[in-house]
Point group: D2
Chain length 251, copies 4
């Protein structure tokens, strides 16, 4: 039986906690704190929904979704987190017919999220080692509609013959790419930039203001988990802090 390089989410409960592993469906056994688990059975029967380790721990076999790839993929730095990814999807209205351009790829977290929604995603990353990590993560996610190119978006833009519905910039020097991105956006399409610092957001907006964009808006988004326990209800005392500012402008 051939390996299919597809990943499955192995999930089990142990001492009141959920334990999850994102594992390749392959002839090679999976090793974890629960011992050795033979996943080759999944090559024979892809509908199998449970496997058992040699130590007797039963794992539920689940098809992974975007948040699983986000949590379990190899990382190259701090990726954009779901609250910000969601804000992009909602304010730009990312949809299944969209052709999306992104830079920089990092480990591919956002590209994978986008790949599961859009028709096609083209992503630029200047650092070659990040490109490799991202391509590997994307391949494991089973996405054939996401292409990662190693290179500088600002230099690459003039030679791109396509137009895009949404362009998302999460890189240093985004402000230098704004006018080039304007050229490659479809009318009605969205440019989105992510900036940890306000000064960068301000520089980007200055570039946006020079062009014929509509409705430039900058947002920050907070997310609080609410804790429900026998002691009572309250916001979690472990909050997520500031991540970045998202700027949206529409052609």
């Amino acid at each position: 039986m051939m390996d299919d390089n597809r990943l499955v989410l192995l999930r089990t409960r142990h001492k009141g906690k959920t334990k999850e592993f994102l594992a390749p469906v392959s002839n090679a056994p999976h090793h974890s704190e629960f011992g050795v688990t033979d996943l080759s059975v999944l090559l024979e029967d892809e509908n199998l929904d449970a496997v058992t380790s040699h130590m007797g721990q039963e794992f539920s076999v689940v098809s992974p979704r975007s948040p699983d790839f986000f949590r379990h993929s190899k990382r190259t730095g701090a990726p954009m987190i779901p609250k910000d990814i969601g804000l992009i999807m909602a304010h730009a209205g990312v949809c299944s017919s969209d052709n999306v351009l992104e830079a920089g790829t990092g480990s591919g977290s956002l590209a994978i999220y986008l790949g599961f929604v859009a028709k096609r995603v083209l992503s630029y990353e200047v650092r070659e080692e990040f490109t490799k990590v991202a391509r590997n993560n994307i391949e494991k996610a089973g996405l054939s509609n996401v292409e990662v190119r190693c290179g500088d978006l600002v230099e690459a833009l003039p030679s791109l013959s396509e137009e895009f519905d949404v362009i998302i910039l999460d890189m240093g020097g985004s402000e230098k790419a704004v006018s080039g991105c304007f050229e490659k956006l479809k009318k009605g399409g969205f440019l989105v930039t992510y900036s940890p610092f306000l000064e960068q957001a301000a520089q980007i907006r200055e570039e946006i203001d020079k062009l014929d964009f509509f409705d430039c808006r900058t947002y920050e988004c907070f997310e609080r988990e609410i804790s429900f326990s026998s002691r009572g209800t309250r916001p979690s005392t472990i909050p997520v802090g500031h991540t970045g500012y998202l700027t949206f402008a529409r052609k």
Copy 2:
């Protein structure tokens, strides 16, 4: 030439502000503060990207996206707003192959957003007048993959023969639907509920805790617009207040 019931976004600048209209492509002229605009020309040439009113105001013609339908569709009440829609998309990882179940439809805002992303959306709404408004909004959005049924989800659930990747509840009495939804969720799929009040979120979580769900989490999300002007940079003084609590649980 036949009307095609397709909507276009007519966009223009006037006195430093953007003016937008979501208008049907039809033989009937469009009326606005800028006078009468003949849109029948768009039936002849669907690539036309500008039209002019009889008063000489030029409108850019743009293909509408989810946020346009959100802003310009007829409403029946307070719809779920983009920050919360985005959080659902990101935490549940809504994707283009998903079969999504939703209740209650309201005016169809969330259903339209989901329809632009997922493979199929089935939405329940108990109030017949809302059903009509929603169906009309969905048809105008050009979505053939979104079906609205008039009825009570709790009663309808046992007779549904499909399984869903994501089920989203935004209705009173959501807690009564939790166990029925569990039955209809695919393994690895997400149940998401939206509740303005904490007590409702707590009741829902109680029902979730009785079933074999994984990783139940409740979030609230804040969004702040940042204002950049010649006076300086600061958060907008007009914030969006509390909307609701989103609870996620995975089968």
Copy 3:
């Protein structure tokens, strides 16, 4: 009997709501929607704890506190609000032996709050009409330890012979006063500035960084009211938006 210019808080319940008036204890009757109320009886007996209007509405007579002067005093603009006043008091540790310098006074809201806590408050205001309003508000609050001077703090600083425990600046051009304030601060004393915009906070910090200040920190503070009702518990949907940034530096 002589008028004593003291104010009392008249408080009553009407149709499920609290109605409050801050009224001078005087021979002149008080007029309100509940008719005419004779307050001269309070000149005769200052311990009287209720009065009745000619229409029969009974008012509870209460000694006003800082929040009452804040809510009911005449205003000249947007005053600093309690959440920010509280943050100043706590982070600077304003105490009853403090000599406090403030600029600009506005209608005296912060000066009144400070006057009820500190030993002495000296406050500068450039606009003469504001000075008058503030002096009147301060007199009505019965505070003899708060002095308002009409003038520009930056010009006045060199001639001040006192030293201060806390200096609070809420005015345009605060950055120009930083070095002069440093000279007049006691060692261990706090400089506090309030700035609606980040750029102003940044300018102030630049000036602070040139001097021998310790522990410069800038905060913003949010306050959310929680609503408890028969429908359930949730944060109020009417939030207070951004007010300003508070910068603290210690000599």
Copy 4:
């Protein structure tokens, strides 16, 4: 020369950071990472504003203020933090003529803050070992107007012959003390309670609603530090999470 048990703040800069010690003015030398520092010189000359350790590190001698006692005093648990202390001071209008009642004392953090503002503070703490820590902290702060009593406030209330301007409850079972506190509040005075959980706040409000209180409001308060650096300006990524809900009601 006699020890005076007064504390001073010794402050120095070391490798770009501020180092602070709250040290007793005494014949016993002070030990720190900078070696031994003789503080007996401060007994001879209380205006001395610098001392030097045997290793040659110079310390600035500063009169400590409330925030210093907050940061450097011995703790028994998680004390109320300045943002919440400030909100109490501002919304209740705590002032220099106030007679304040508090429970539970903990290590005395809030009591010390209040002692530096109000005329008198009476504080109850049920745990004897906390009482000792608090009394010691209060004595070191030089406050003779703060009294800590070991006992249960609910039991002690009936026997108290005083009336209070402000009563602050930060203890389990606060709801049981509400009616007793009402009796001991002056008209116009404030009851303030601090509760980590919403259920406790709800119980307290139920008790408040049974009595003739005015204007019951519950708040939560967030504080964000803004970081200014050569890289740019942004909110600190290390936020303070949820602390508690503050409920205010006025007699």
